[in-house]
């Protein structure tokens, strides 16, 4: 029994594993999307029958659209120019059809592949980049007031102003009809994914950028990211195939107003209620053959009857 008692005290229930997995998915996907945002999305307008593809391999330094336009390029050889989102331009010379397109001044490199029919004059390539911060989330599990970091009312650009997500286990209901008596118990669990947004009123040239509106926007953005990530087809089983049967966002609720009455720090929060189905298990006993059982019954001096029982198991 010693081994079984240890099993009771160690490890996690599935509800804890799923909770931690939800947080891990949000954190990992947030980080991954930030990296992808820095690379930009490449699109083309091609002239003639050119069939190259290109992708950005460098971290682009500006948010917006980089437009690469053809100069005097003929069959991949010649001069090109590119215009950055801030209007600055850069040019390069391509001496061979398979050259990567390097725009040093713009901090951009386009890796060109599949060059059966290379760059043509008048080809236009556009690279759209995004602000990685739009995908940034700070993720917690089972915290009651992670937003207290905003008590000092930090500036909006401060890292602490990033939206917060706290994942908490709420409850699980067991379905007797879908369970067996011994080991597996079908559970329908609810997890609260609380998304907090923060805003600080900022002066603008025209007037002000209100903190409450920013907090609302940030909270909604965090909730939108969390819902889209968790409901993405890639996470149908939350990365726990064989354990998780299904997941579903049942509701998105705005938090009660009292959270918003911390007036110096504008905070808006939304709660995603995520339902997840999986099986909980119970510790099982590995049986051992009993080689001998015996008992000795004797009468005590007081007339009370005693039984001495012994069992012998294999080594």
């Amino acid at each position: 029994m010693t081994a079984q008692i240890t099993a009771l005290m160690t490890g996690q229930d599935r509800c804890e594993i799923v909770r931690d997995q939800i947080a891990a998915i949000l954190l990992a996907e947030s980080a991954e999307q930030q990296v992808l945002a820095t690379k930009g999305v490449v699109s083309y307008t091609r002239a003639g029958d050119s069939d190259y593809t290109a992708r950005s391999t460098a971290v682009l330094s500006q948010v917006g659209v980089y437009t690469v336009t053809a100069g005097t390029l003929v069959d991949g050889v010649g001069e090109w120019t590119a215009e950055a989102p801030d209007g600055s331009t850069d040019s390069f010379t391509s001496s061979a059809a398979d050259d990567a397109l390097v725009f040093g001044d713009l901090g951009m490199t386009l890796e060109v592949t599949d060059r059966d029919t290379p760059w043509q004059t008048a080809d236009v390539i556009a690279v759209t980049t995004y602000d990685p911060a739009q995908w940034k989330l700070r993720v917690f599990t089972e915290r009651t007031n992670p937003w207290q970091v905003w008590e000092s009312a930090p500036d909006q650009a401060h890292v602490d102003a990033t939206p917060l997500v706290s994942v908490a286990f709420q409850r699980e209901d067991f379905d007797r009809a879908k369970s067996d008596t011994f080991e597996k118990f079908h559970a329908d669990a609810r997890f609260a994914v609380d998304c907090y947004g923060y805003g600080k009123t900022t002066a603008t040239v025209a007037g002000q950028d209100p903190g409450d509106a920013k907090a609302l926007s940030e909270g909604l953005r965090a909730a939108r990211l969390a819902r889209r990530i968790l409901m993405a087809a890639h996470y149908t089983r939350l990365g726990l195939t064989g354990t998780v049967g299904a997941r579903f966002v049942e509701s998105v609720d705005r938090f009660p107003a009292e959270l918003e009455e911390r007036f110096v720090q504008h905070v808006r929060a939304y709660r995603l209620l995520l339902a997840v189905s999986f099986s909980e298990t119970s510790p099982q006993v590995e049986g051992q053959p009993c080689e001998q059982t015996s008992g000795v019954v004797r009468n005590g001096d007081s007339g009370e009857v005693f039984l001495r029982h012994t069992q012998a198991f294999g080594s």
């Binding site: 008590e151 009312a153 002066a203 007037g207 903190g211 911390r262 007036f263 720090q265």
Partner: protein, 124 residues
Amino acid sequence: MDLRSVAAADLATTVEGDGVAVIVTDPDGASAELTGLAADVGALIDPETDTMVSGRQATVTLRVASLTAAGMGVPVGIAETASKPWRITVADVEGTTHDFAVGRAFHDRTIGVVTCMLEGYDPT
């Protein structure tokens, strides 16, 4: 002296007798240094559960007569983005200066006082 005049005199002593320096700036940029009561606390009472919760709430209380004498109007919360908010600059007990915007204002016309609920403000 009627009762209201007595209350107004008491108000001047209460609000400004032991008050702190408060710089008030209106949406047009006009400002004045007044004396008022300032509070900045980090513990609130949850109205639903009556339990103490963390959360920062800052207020200043000013005498309307002093605002008027300084040529200022009465602060209000301004929602529109095309206007600057009413701004308050006040130092805490350690001497650190904080910039706030007026989020809400409670104007008590009976006794002539206004209490401003303050929110964090980045003036840059």
